[in-house]
Protein backbone atom coordinates (compact mmCIF):
# COMPACT_ATOMS: atom_id res chain seq x y z
CA UNK A 1 0.00 0.00 0.00
CA UNK A 2 1.59 3.31 -1.05
CA UNK A 3 1.00 5.12 2.17
CA UNK A 4 3.64 7.68 1.19
CA UNK A 5 1.54 9.17 -1.60
CA UNK A 6 0.28 12.62 -0.68
CA UNK A 7 -3.27 13.75 -1.03
CA UNK A 8 -2.32 16.14 -3.83
CA UNK A 9 -0.83 13.29 -5.87
CA UNK A 10 -3.96 11.25 -5.48
CA UNK A 11 -6.31 14.07 -6.33
CA UNK A 12 -4.19 14.77 -9.36
CA UNK A 13 -4.36 11.12 -10.36
CA UNK A 14 -8.14 11.32 -10.04
CA UNK A 15 -8.21 14.22 -12.47
CA UNK A 16 -9.17 16.88 -9.92
CA UNK A 17 -8.05 20.29 -11.11
CA UNK A 18 -6.21 22.64 -8.81
CA UNK A 19 -9.12 25.02 -9.12
CA UNK A 20 -11.56 22.34 -7.98
CA UNK A 21 -9.27 21.46 -5.11
CA UNK A 22 -9.01 25.08 -3.96
CA UNK A 23 -12.76 25.42 -4.17
CA UNK A 24 -13.09 22.47 -1.85
CA UNK A 25 -10.51 23.97 0.51
CA UNK A 26 -12.41 27.27 0.57
CA UNK A 27 -15.65 25.51 1.37
CA UNK A 28 -13.96 23.46 4.04
CA UNK A 29 -12.33 26.54 5.58
CA UNK A 30 -15.62 28.40 5.69
CA UNK A 31 -17.40 25.40 7.14
CA UNK A 32 -14.71 25.12 9.80
CA UNK A 33 -15.19 28.81 10.56
CA UNK A 34 -11.63 29.62 9.49
CA UNK A 35 -11.00 33.05 7.97
CA UNK A 36 -10.60 33.19 4.15
CA UNK A 37 -6.91 33.98 4.71
CA UNK A 38 -6.52 30.45 6.05
CA UNK A 39 -7.46 28.86 2.72
CA UNK A 40 -3.90 28.71 1.32
CA UNK A 41 -2.68 27.16 4.57
CA UNK A 42 -5.47 24.60 4.45
CA UNK A 43 -4.66 23.82 0.82
CA UNK A 44 -0.94 23.51 1.55
CA UNK A 45 -1.54 21.25 4.53
CA UNK A 46 -3.97 19.09 2.61
CA UNK A 47 -1.66 18.83 -0.37
CA UNK A 48 1.18 17.61 1.76
CA UNK A 49 -0.91 15.31 3.88
CA UNK A 50 -0.02 11.65 3.80
CA UNK A 51 -2.76 9.20 2.98
CA UNK A 52 -3.96 8.03 6.33
CA UNK A 53 -5.05 4.46 6.74
CA UNK A 54 -8.76 4.20 7.46
CA UNK A 55 -10.52 1.12 8.75
CA UNK A 56 -14.25 1.40 8.34
CA UNK A 57 -16.42 -0.90 10.43
CA UNK A 58 -20.09 -1.31 9.63
CA UNK A 59 -22.27 -2.75 12.35
CA UNK A 60 -26.04 -2.44 12.83
CA UNK A 61 -26.61 0.15 10.15
CA UNK A 62 -28.53 0.68 6.93
CA UNK A 63 -25.54 1.71 4.79
CA UNK A 64 -27.14 5.11 4.44
CA UNK A 65 -24.05 6.77 5.86
CA UNK A 66 -21.81 5.17 3.24
CA UNK A 67 -24.42 5.98 0.62
CA UNK A 68 -24.45 9.59 1.75
CA UNK A 69 -20.74 9.77 1.14
CA UNK A 70 -20.41 7.78 -2.06
CA UNK A 71 -23.69 7.87 -3.90
CA UNK A 72 -23.96 11.32 -5.31
CA UNK A 73 -25.27 12.03 -8.80
CA UNK A 74 -21.84 13.25 -9.82
CA UNK A 75 -18.74 12.21 -7.93
CA UNK A 76 -18.09 14.99 -5.47
CA UNK A 77 -14.75 16.09 -4.27
CA UNK A 78 -15.68 15.02 -0.79
CA UNK A 79 -16.28 11.50 -1.98
CA UNK A 80 -12.98 11.66 -3.81
CA UNK A 81 -11.13 12.70 -0.71
CA UNK A 82 -12.43 9.44 0.59
CA UNK A 83 -11.10 7.60 -2.40
CA UNK A 84 -7.69 9.01 -1.72
CA UNK A 85 -7.44 8.05 1.88
CA UNK A 86 -6.16 4.56 2.18
CA UNK A 87 -9.46 2.88 2.87
CA UNK A 88 -7.97 -0.43 3.89
CA UNK A 89 -11.12 -2.08 5.09
CA UNK A 90 -14.77 -1.31 4.40
CA UNK A 91 -17.35 -4.08 4.48
CA UNK A 92 -19.57 -2.56 1.88
CA UNK A 93 -17.03 -1.20 -0.52
CA UNK A 94 -14.28 -3.79 -0.49
CA UNK A 95 -14.28 -6.71 -2.91
CA UNK A 96 -12.89 -9.24 -0.47
CA UNK A 97 -15.13 -10.85 2.07
CA UNK A 98 -14.97 -13.19 5.05
CA UNK A 99 -11.54 -14.20 6.24
CA UNK A 100 -9.77 -12.53 3.33
CA UNK A 101 -11.24 -9.23 4.35
CA UNK A 102 -10.37 -9.82 7.98
CA UNK A 103 -6.78 -10.50 6.97
CA UNK A 104 -6.70 -7.11 5.23
CA UNK A 105 -7.95 -5.47 8.42
CA UNK A 106 -5.32 -7.14 10.55
CA UNK A 107 -2.59 -6.22 8.13
CA UNK A 108 -3.66 -2.57 7.99
CA UNK A 109 -3.83 -2.49 11.78
CA UNK A 110 -0.37 -3.93 12.15
CA UNK A 111 1.24 -1.66 9.56
CA UNK A 112 -0.32 1.52 10.96
CA UNK A 113 -0.61 0.65 14.65
CA UNK A 114 -1.41 3.78 16.66
CA UNK A 115 -1.89 5.91 13.56
CA UNK A 116 -4.93 4.70 11.67
CA UNK A 117 -8.42 6.10 11.92
CA UNK A 118 -11.19 3.74 12.91
CA UNK A 119 -14.48 4.82 11.37
CA UNK A 120 -17.63 3.13 12.63
CA UNK A 121 -21.11 3.26 11.27
CA UNK A 122 -23.94 1.43 12.97
CA UNK A 123 -24.64 0.59 16.58
CA UNK A 124 -23.31 -2.45 18.40
CA UNK A 125 -25.66 -5.11 19.81
CA UNK A 126 -24.60 -6.32 23.24
CA UNK A 127 -27.93 -7.91 24.17
CA UNK A 128 -26.84 -10.98 22.27
CA UNK A 129 -23.59 -10.76 20.28
CA UNK A 130 -25.10 -13.15 17.76
CA UNK A 131 -27.39 -10.44 16.43
CA UNK A 132 -24.56 -9.11 14.30
CA UNK A 133 -21.27 -10.79 13.49
CA UNK A 134 -18.67 -10.47 10.76
CA UNK A 135 -16.65 -13.53 9.82
CA UNK A 136 -17.90 -15.01 13.07
CA UNK A 137 -16.61 -12.12 15.15
CA UNK A 138 -19.12 -10.25 17.25
CA UNK A 139 -19.37 -6.53 16.53
CA UNK A 140 -18.40 -5.55 20.06
CA UNK A 141 -15.21 -7.66 19.92
CA UNK A 142 -14.25 -6.33 16.51
CA UNK A 143 -14.75 -2.76 17.66
CA UNK A 144 -12.66 -3.20 20.81
CA UNK A 145 -9.90 -4.92 18.90
CA UNK A 146 -9.78 -2.35 16.11
CA UNK A 147 -10.12 0.68 18.34
CA UNK A 148 -7.17 -0.43 20.43
CA UNK A 149 -4.58 0.54 17.82
CA UNK A 150 -6.45 3.51 16.40
CA UNK A 151 -5.32 7.11 16.70
CA UNK A 152 -8.96 8.08 17.01
CA UNK A 153 -12.41 6.66 16.43
CA UNK A 154 -14.91 8.44 14.23
CA UNK A 155 -18.51 7.39 14.91
CA UNK A 156 -20.23 8.18 11.64
CA UNK A 157 -24.00 8.50 11.75
CA UNK A 158 -26.45 8.65 14.60
CA UNK A 159 -26.39 4.87 15.15
CA UNK A 160 -22.69 4.78 15.90
CA UNK A 161 -22.76 8.10 17.72
CA UNK A 162 -25.91 7.73 19.82
CA UNK A 163 -27.42 4.33 19.06
CA UNK A 164 -29.83 5.55 16.39
CA UNK A 165 -32.65 3.41 15.08
CA UNK A 166 -31.55 0.08 16.61
CA UNK A 167 -31.28 1.84 19.97
CA UNK A 168 -34.82 3.24 19.71
CA UNK A 169 -37.41 1.95 22.13
CA UNK A 170 -37.66 -1.03 22.79
CA UNK A 171 -34.09 -1.61 21.57
CA UNK A 172 -34.54 -5.34 20.84
CA UNK A 173 -30.85 -6.05 20.23
CA UNK A 174 -29.51 -4.21 23.24
CA UNK A 175 -27.73 -1.81 20.88
CA UNK A 176 -25.21 0.68 22.23
CA UNK A 177 -23.28 3.54 20.64
CA UNK A 178 -19.49 3.38 20.15
CA UNK A 179 -18.86 5.59 23.15
CA UNK A 180 -20.20 2.92 25.52
CA UNK A 181 -17.60 0.40 24.42
CA UNK A 182 -14.59 2.53 23.60
CA UNK A 183 -13.58 4.69 26.50
CA UNK A 184 -9.85 5.16 26.14
CA UNK A 185 -9.64 6.73 22.67
CA UNK A 186 -10.69 10.09 21.35
CA UNK A 187 -14.09 9.63 19.71
CA UNK A 188 -15.58 12.04 17.24
CA UNK A 189 -19.33 11.72 16.84
CA UNK A 190 -20.40 12.68 13.35
CA UNK A 191 -24.10 12.32 13.92
CA UNK A 192 -26.92 12.57 11.43
CA UNK A 193 -29.11 10.05 9.71
CA UNK A 194 -27.13 10.19 7.52
CA UNK A 195 -24.48 12.82 8.28
CA UNK A 196 -23.77 15.48 5.71
CA UNK A 197 -21.05 14.16 3.35
CA UNK A 198 -18.93 17.28 3.61
CA UNK A 199 -19.05 17.03 7.39
CA UNK A 200 -17.68 13.48 7.27
CA UNK A 201 -14.91 14.51 4.93
CA UNK A 202 -14.44 17.71 6.92
CA UNK A 203 -13.58 15.68 10.01
CA UNK A 204 -11.12 13.62 7.98
CA UNK A 205 -9.67 16.79 6.48
CA UNK A 206 -9.27 18.22 9.95
CA UNK A 207 -7.37 15.12 10.93
CA UNK A 208 -5.15 15.57 7.88
CA UNK A 209 -4.61 19.31 8.29
CA UNK A 210 -4.21 19.65 12.02
CA UNK A 211 -3.19 16.09 12.79
CA UNK A 212 -5.81 15.61 15.48
CA UNK A 213 -9.46 15.69 16.22
CA UNK A 214 -11.42 18.94 16.19
CA UNK A 215 -12.88 20.64 19.24
CA UNK A 216 -15.98 18.75 20.38
CA UNK A 217 -19.26 19.73 21.96
CA UNK A 218 -20.76 18.01 25.01
CA UNK A 219 -22.11 15.23 22.81
CA UNK A 220 -18.70 14.62 21.26
CA UNK A 221 -19.52 16.30 17.96
CA UNK A 222 -17.16 18.71 16.21
CA UNK A 223 -18.18 22.19 17.24
CA UNK A 224 -17.34 23.63 13.85
CA UNK A 225 -20.11 21.64 12.20
CA UNK A 226 -22.51 21.16 15.09
CA UNK A 227 -22.07 24.46 16.85
CA UNK A 228 -25.36 25.99 15.79
CA UNK A 229 -28.91 24.78 15.51
CA UNK A 230 -30.72 24.41 12.21
CA UNK A 231 -33.10 27.04 13.54
CA UNK A 232 -30.22 29.49 14.11
CA UNK A 233 -29.34 29.43 10.43
CA UNK A 234 -32.71 28.61 8.88
CA UNK A 235 -33.79 30.88 6.05
CA UNK A 236 -37.41 30.53 7.29
CA UNK A 237 -36.46 32.05 10.61
CA UNK A 238 -37.87 35.53 9.81
CA UNK A 239 -41.31 33.90 9.48
CA UNK A 240 -40.85 32.18 12.81
CA UNK A 241 -39.94 35.51 14.38
CA UNK A 242 -43.02 37.13 12.88
CA UNK A 243 -45.22 34.22 14.01
CA UNK A 244 -46.11 33.15 10.45
CA UNK A 245 -46.52 29.37 10.41
CA UNK A 246 -47.63 26.88 7.79
CA UNK A 247 -50.57 24.90 9.18
CA UNK A 248 -50.53 22.08 6.67
CA UNK A 249 -48.15 21.00 3.96
CA UNK A 250 -50.19 22.56 1.18
CA UNK A 251 -51.84 25.60 2.68
CA UNK A 252 -51.13 29.17 1.67
CA UNK A 253 -48.47 29.50 4.37
CA UNK A 254 -46.62 26.43 3.14
CA UNK A 255 -46.71 27.76 -0.41
CA UNK A 256 -45.28 31.06 0.78
CA UNK A 257 -42.50 29.29 2.59
CA UNK A 258 -43.53 30.12 6.14
CA UNK A 259 -42.00 28.48 9.18
CA UNK A 260 -42.67 24.76 9.71
CA UNK A 261 -42.57 24.78 13.53
CA UNK A 262 -46.25 23.93 13.88
CA UNK A 263 -45.80 21.03 11.45
CA UNK A 264 -43.27 19.50 13.79
CA UNK A 265 -39.96 21.06 12.73
CA UNK A 266 -37.25 20.05 15.23
CA UNK A 267 -34.82 22.69 13.92
CA UNK A 268 -34.72 24.58 17.22
CA UNK A 269 -33.23 21.63 19.13
CA UNK A 270 -31.09 20.19 16.35
CA UNK A 271 -27.41 20.94 16.02
CA UNK A 272 -26.17 20.32 12.50
CA UNK A 273 -24.86 22.13 9.44
CA UNK A 274 -27.71 21.29 7.02
CA UNK A 275 -28.88 24.88 6.73
CA UNK A 276 -25.42 26.05 5.65
CA UNK A 277 -23.68 23.06 4.04
CA UNK A 278 -26.88 21.72 2.48
CA UNK A 279 -27.36 18.46 0.61
CA UNK A 280 -27.02 17.11 -2.93
CA UNK A 281 -24.06 19.24 -3.89
CA UNK A 282 -25.43 22.25 -2.06
CA UNK A 283 -28.87 22.08 -3.70
CA UNK A 284 -31.04 22.37 -0.63
CA UNK A 285 -31.85 20.85 2.74
CA UNK A 286 -35.07 19.29 4.05
CA UNK A 287 -36.65 22.53 5.25
CA UNK A 288 -35.95 24.09 1.87
CA UNK A 289 -37.76 21.15 0.30
CA UNK A 290 -40.78 21.93 2.45
CA UNK A 291 -40.43 19.38 5.24
CA UNK A 292 -39.59 20.18 8.83
CA UNK A 293 -36.32 19.04 10.36
CA UNK A 294 -36.74 15.68 12.13
CA UNK A 295 -33.74 16.24 14.39
CA UNK A 296 -31.74 13.29 13.08
CA UNK A 297 -28.41 14.44 14.48
CA UNK A 298 -29.71 14.51 18.05
CA UNK A 299 -29.62 11.54 20.42
CA UNK A 300 -32.84 9.52 20.61
CA UNK A 301 -34.54 11.48 17.88
CA UNK A 302 -36.71 8.48 17.03
CA UNK A 303 -38.26 8.58 20.45
CA UNK A 304 -38.54 12.34 20.70
CA UNK A 305 -42.27 12.50 19.97
CA UNK A 306 -43.90 12.46 16.54
CA UNK A 307 -42.05 13.98 13.60
CA UNK A 308 -45.16 16.02 12.84
CA UNK A 309 -45.83 17.07 16.41
CA UNK A 310 -44.73 20.59 17.31
CA UNK A 311 -41.71 20.68 19.60
CA UNK A 312 -43.64 22.57 22.26
CA UNK A 313 -46.28 19.86 22.62
CA UNK A 314 -46.06 17.19 25.29
CA UNK A 315 -45.24 13.78 23.89
CA UNK A 316 -47.66 11.67 25.93
CA UNK A 317 -51.40 11.16 25.39
CA UNK A 318 -52.17 13.91 27.89
CA UNK A 319 -55.86 14.31 27.09
CA UNK A 320 -56.60 10.73 27.95
CA UNK A 321 -54.45 10.79 31.07
CA UNK A 322 -56.19 14.00 32.13
CA UNK A 323 -59.62 12.41 31.62
CA UNK A 324 -58.69 9.54 33.92
CA UNK A 325 -57.24 11.98 36.44
CA UNK A 326 -60.45 14.03 36.32
CA UNK A 327 -62.56 10.94 36.93
CA UNK A 328 -60.30 9.88 39.80
CA UNK A 329 -60.39 13.41 41.25
CA UNK A 330 -64.17 13.54 41.03
CA UNK A 331 -64.52 10.15 42.67
CA UNK A 332 -62.12 11.10 45.43
CA UNK A 333 -63.89 14.43 45.92
CA UNK A 334 -67.29 12.77 46.15
CA UNK A 335 -65.97 10.18 48.54
CA UNK A 336 -64.37 12.82 50.76
CA UNK A 337 -67.58 14.85 50.68
CA UNK A 338 -69.67 11.80 51.53
CA UNK A 339 -67.37 10.97 54.43
CA UNK A 340 -67.66 14.49 55.70
CA UNK A 341 -71.44 14.35 55.47
CA UNK A 342 -71.59 11.07 57.27
CA UNK A 343 -69.46 12.50 60.00
CA UNK A 344 -71.71 15.55 60.18
CA UNK A 345 -74.89 13.47 60.33
CA UNK A 346 -73.40 11.16 62.94
CA UNK A 347 -72.57 14.16 65.07
CA UNK A 348 -76.04 15.54 64.54
CA UNK A 349 -77.62 12.22 65.55
CA UNK A 350 -75.89 12.14 68.92
CA UNK A 351 -76.57 15.77 69.51
CA UNK A 352 -78.85 16.28 72.47
CA UNK A 353 -81.22 19.17 72.31
CA UNK A 354 -81.03 21.39 75.30
CA UNK A 355 -83.94 23.44 76.48
CA UNK A 356 -84.09 26.29 78.89
CA UNK A 357 -85.53 23.94 81.49
CA UNK A 358 -82.55 21.65 81.16
CA UNK A 359 -80.27 24.51 81.85
CA UNK A 360 -82.13 25.50 84.94
CA UNK A 361 -82.16 22.02 86.51
CA UNK A 362 -79.55 21.34 89.10
CA UNK A 363 -76.70 19.10 88.21
CA UNK A 364 -77.96 15.61 87.23
CA UNK A 365 -75.26 13.69 88.92
Amino acid sequence: MPVETTLADSLCAHGISRRGFLKFCTMLASLMALPPSAVPAVAAALEKAKRPSVIWLSFQECTGCTESLTRSAAPTIESLIFNVVSLDYHHTLQAASGEGAEAARHQAMQENWGKYLCVVDGSIPIGNPGYSTIAGVANADMLRETAEGAAAVVAVGSCAAFGGLPYADPNPTGAVPVSELVTDKPIVNVSGCPPIPVVISGVLAHFLIFGGIPELDTLGRPRVFYGQTIHDRCYRRPFYDKGLFARSFDDEGAKRGWCLYTLGCKGPMTYNACATAKWNQGTSFPIEAGHGCIGCSQPNFWDAGGFYQPLSLPTGAVTQTAAYAAAAGAAAGLAAGALYRRHKHARQAVHESVTVDDLEKPDKS
Partner: protein, 219 residues
Protein backbone atom coordinates in the same frame (compact mmCIF):
# COMPACT_ATOMS: atom_id res chain seq x y z
CA UNK B 1 -28.91 13.75 31.27
CA UNK B 2 -28.13 16.44 28.72
CA UNK B 3 -30.45 19.30 27.88
CA UNK B 4 -32.10 17.45 24.99
CA UNK B 5 -32.89 14.45 27.22
CA UNK B 6 -34.16 16.91 29.76
CA UNK B 7 -36.49 18.42 27.17
CA UNK B 8 -37.79 14.96 26.32
CA UNK B 9 -38.36 14.28 29.99
CA UNK B 10 -40.27 17.47 30.69
CA UNK B 11 -42.34 17.01 27.52
CA UNK B 12 -43.05 13.39 28.37
CA UNK B 13 -43.34 11.78 31.80
CA UNK B 14 -42.96 14.97 33.82
CA UNK B 15 -45.71 16.70 31.93
CA UNK B 16 -48.06 13.75 32.28
CA UNK B 17 -47.41 13.65 36.01
CA UNK B 18 -47.99 17.39 36.40
CA UNK B 19 -51.25 17.24 34.48
CA UNK B 20 -52.47 14.32 36.58
CA UNK B 21 -51.69 16.15 39.83
CA UNK B 22 -53.29 19.33 38.54
CA UNK B 23 -56.51 17.80 37.20
CA UNK B 24 -56.92 15.36 40.04
CA UNK B 25 -56.18 18.00 42.66
CA UNK B 26 -58.41 20.70 41.23
CA UNK B 27 -61.38 18.42 40.61
CA UNK B 28 -60.95 16.82 44.03
CA UNK B 29 -61.03 20.17 45.74
CA UNK B 30 -63.95 21.50 43.72
CA UNK B 31 -66.03 18.40 44.35
CA UNK B 32 -65.08 18.52 47.99
CA UNK B 33 -66.28 22.12 48.23
CA UNK B 34 -69.49 21.46 46.32
CA UNK B 35 -70.22 18.41 48.45
CA UNK B 36 -70.32 20.63 51.53
CA UNK B 37 -73.77 21.47 50.34
CA UNK B 38 -76.12 24.08 51.68
CA UNK B 39 -78.55 23.84 54.53
CA UNK B 40 -82.14 23.86 53.29
CA UNK B 41 -83.40 27.40 53.60
CA UNK B 42 -86.93 27.17 54.94
CA UNK B 43 -87.66 30.89 54.74
CA UNK B 44 -89.79 32.06 51.84
CA UNK B 45 -87.50 33.42 49.12
CA UNK B 46 -87.75 37.14 48.56
CA UNK B 47 -86.17 37.03 45.16
CA UNK B 48 -84.44 34.85 42.57
CA UNK B 49 -81.00 33.31 42.95
CA UNK B 50 -79.60 33.08 39.41
CA UNK B 51 -80.03 36.68 38.36
CA UNK B 52 -78.47 38.27 41.43
CA UNK B 53 -75.83 35.55 41.50
CA UNK B 54 -74.67 36.29 37.99
CA UNK B 55 -74.90 39.99 38.58
CA UNK B 56 -72.57 39.66 41.56
CA UNK B 57 -70.12 37.62 39.52
CA UNK B 58 -69.91 40.60 37.20
CA UNK B 59 -70.09 43.39 39.78
CA UNK B 60 -67.36 41.91 41.97
CA UNK B 61 -65.16 41.46 38.94
CA UNK B 62 -65.17 45.20 38.45
CA UNK B 63 -63.33 47.41 40.91
CA UNK B 64 -65.66 49.25 43.14
CA UNK B 65 -65.10 52.87 43.71
CA UNK B 66 -64.16 52.72 47.37
CA UNK B 67 -61.48 50.09 46.90
CA UNK B 68 -60.14 51.90 43.89
CA UNK B 69 -59.78 55.11 45.79
CA UNK B 70 -58.02 53.42 48.69
CA UNK B 71 -55.76 51.11 46.69
CA UNK B 72 -55.52 52.33 43.12
CA UNK B 73 -52.11 50.74 42.59
CA UNK B 74 -53.18 47.26 43.69
CA UNK B 75 -56.27 47.41 41.55
CA UNK B 76 -54.59 48.68 38.40
CA UNK B 77 -51.48 46.50 38.66
CA UNK B 78 -53.67 43.51 39.53
CA UNK B 79 -55.78 44.00 36.45
CA UNK B 80 -52.78 44.60 34.24
CA UNK B 81 -51.17 41.41 35.48
CA UNK B 82 -54.27 39.26 35.02
CA UNK B 83 -55.13 40.58 31.57
CA UNK B 84 -51.52 40.35 30.42
CA UNK B 85 -51.24 36.83 31.74
CA UNK B 86 -54.38 35.72 29.93
CA UNK B 87 -53.31 37.31 26.66
CA UNK B 88 -49.93 35.59 26.90
CA UNK B 89 -51.47 32.27 27.85
CA UNK B 90 -54.41 32.10 25.47
CA UNK B 91 -53.53 34.24 22.50
CA UNK B 92 -49.98 33.24 21.59
CA UNK B 93 -49.65 30.91 18.61
CA UNK B 94 -47.60 28.11 20.26
CA UNK B 95 -50.03 27.91 23.17
CA UNK B 96 -53.03 27.77 20.84
CA UNK B 97 -51.30 24.84 19.13
CA UNK B 98 -51.22 23.14 22.48
CA UNK B 99 -54.91 23.71 23.19
CA UNK B 100 -55.72 22.59 19.69
CA UNK B 101 -53.83 19.35 20.22
CA UNK B 102 -55.74 18.73 23.45
CA UNK B 103 -59.25 19.94 22.82
CA UNK B 104 -59.36 20.18 19.03
CA UNK B 105 -60.28 23.86 19.35
CA UNK B 106 -58.42 26.63 17.64
CA UNK B 107 -58.88 30.38 17.77
CA UNK B 108 -56.99 33.21 16.10
CA UNK B 109 -53.66 34.18 17.67
CA UNK B 110 -52.53 37.70 18.32
CA UNK B 111 -49.52 38.89 16.30
CA UNK B 112 -46.35 37.85 18.09
CA UNK B 113 -45.11 41.39 18.93
CA UNK B 114 -48.34 42.05 20.82
CA UNK B 115 -48.08 38.83 22.80
CA UNK B 116 -44.47 39.69 23.43
CA UNK B 117 -45.40 43.10 24.76
CA UNK B 118 -48.08 41.60 26.98
CA UNK B 119 -45.54 39.16 28.43
CA UNK B 120 -43.21 42.04 29.28
CA UNK B 121 -46.06 44.02 30.83
CA UNK B 122 -47.14 40.97 32.84
CA UNK B 123 -43.61 40.55 34.16
CA UNK B 124 -43.32 44.23 35.04
CA UNK B 125 -46.68 44.15 36.81
CA UNK B 126 -45.61 41.10 38.82
CA UNK B 127 -42.31 42.64 39.84
CA UNK B 128 -44.02 45.87 40.67
CA UNK B 129 -46.64 44.13 42.81
CA UNK B 130 -43.93 42.31 44.74
CA UNK B 131 -42.06 45.53 45.39
CA UNK B 132 -45.32 47.20 46.39
CA UNK B 133 -46.07 44.40 48.80
CA UNK B 134 -42.63 44.54 50.35
CA UNK B 135 -42.59 48.32 50.61
CA UNK B 136 -45.47 48.48 53.05
CA UNK B 137 -44.98 47.06 56.56
CA UNK B 138 -48.63 46.04 56.92
CA UNK B 139 -48.75 44.20 53.60
CA UNK B 140 -45.43 42.62 54.41
CA UNK B 141 -46.74 41.48 57.77
CA UNK B 142 -49.78 39.93 56.15
CA UNK B 143 -47.71 37.99 53.59
CA UNK B 144 -46.54 34.49 54.27
CA UNK B 145 -44.42 31.95 52.48
CA UNK B 146 -47.27 30.87 50.25
CA UNK B 147 -47.75 34.35 48.89
CA UNK B 148 -44.16 34.59 47.75
CA UNK B 149 -44.16 31.03 46.50
CA UNK B 150 -47.24 31.60 44.40
CA UNK B 151 -45.72 34.79 43.07
CA UNK B 152 -42.60 32.85 42.06
CA UNK B 153 -44.35 29.96 40.32
CA UNK B 154 -46.49 32.46 38.41
CA UNK B 155 -43.55 34.57 37.35
CA UNK B 156 -41.33 31.71 36.19
CA UNK B 157 -43.41 30.44 33.25
CA UNK B 158 -43.75 33.96 31.86
CA UNK B 159 -40.09 34.72 32.31
CA UNK B 160 -38.78 31.46 30.84
CA UNK B 161 -41.29 31.65 28.00
CA UNK B 162 -40.07 35.12 27.15
CA UNK B 163 -36.43 34.03 27.27
CA UNK B 164 -37.16 30.93 25.17
CA UNK B 165 -39.01 32.89 22.57
CA UNK B 166 -36.12 35.31 22.19
CA UNK B 167 -33.44 32.64 22.54
CA UNK B 168 -31.79 34.60 25.31
CA UNK B 169 -28.84 33.28 27.31
CA UNK B 170 -29.36 29.54 26.70
CA UNK B 171 -30.06 27.44 23.61
CA UNK B 172 -33.71 27.33 22.63
CA UNK B 173 -34.33 23.71 23.56
CA UNK B 174 -32.87 24.21 27.05
CA UNK B 175 -35.03 27.28 27.59
CA UNK B 176 -38.06 25.53 26.20
CA UNK B 177 -37.41 22.68 28.64
CA UNK B 178 -37.12 25.17 31.54
CA UNK B 179 -40.30 26.88 30.39
CA UNK B 180 -42.24 23.63 30.35
CA UNK B 181 -40.76 22.69 33.73
CA UNK B 182 -41.86 26.05 35.15
CA UNK B 183 -45.37 25.43 33.84
CA UNK B 184 -45.33 21.98 35.44
CA UNK B 185 -44.36 23.55 38.77
CA UNK B 186 -47.28 25.92 38.44
CA UNK B 187 -49.64 23.05 37.63
CA UNK B 188 -48.46 21.00 40.58
CA UNK B 189 -48.70 23.92 43.01
CA UNK B 190 -52.11 24.94 41.71
CA UNK B 191 -54.56 22.76 43.68
CA UNK B 192 -52.68 23.19 46.96
CA UNK B 193 -52.29 26.95 47.07
CA UNK B 194 -54.53 29.94 46.68
CA UNK B 195 -53.93 29.68 42.95
CA UNK B 196 -57.15 27.67 43.29
CA UNK B 197 -58.97 31.02 43.30
CA UNK B 198 -58.97 30.72 39.50
CA UNK B 199 -61.66 28.07 39.84
CA UNK B 200 -63.34 29.02 43.07
CA UNK B 201 -63.77 32.76 42.72
CA UNK B 202 -66.68 32.77 40.32
CA UNK B 203 -68.48 30.06 42.25
CA UNK B 204 -67.95 32.03 45.45
CA UNK B 205 -69.17 35.26 43.90
CA UNK B 206 -72.22 33.56 42.53
CA UNK B 207 -72.91 31.97 45.89
CA UNK B 208 -72.80 35.30 47.70
CA UNK B 209 -74.97 36.98 45.10
CA UNK B 210 -77.47 34.15 45.07
CA UNK B 211 -77.76 34.10 48.86
CA UNK B 212 -78.39 37.84 48.96
CA UNK B 213 -80.83 37.63 46.06
CA UNK B 214 -82.85 35.03 47.90
CA UNK B 215 -83.06 37.29 50.90
CA UNK B 216 -84.02 40.16 48.67
CA UNK B 217 -81.02 42.29 49.44
CA UNK B 218 -78.38 43.75 47.17
CA UNK B 219 -75.03 42.04 47.50
Amino acid sequence: MNSVDFLQWVRGPAFDAAVVIFVLGVIFRLFGILMLGKKPDLAEPRGGEWGPGLRTVLSRSLPDRGTFRREPVTVVAGYVFHIGFFITLFLSAPHIELFHAWFGLRWPALPTPLVDASAVITLLALVFLLAYRLANPVRRFLSGFEDYFVWGVTLLPVLTGYLAYHHLRLPYHALLALHILAVELLLVAFPFTHLMHTFTLFVARWYNGAASGRRGVVS
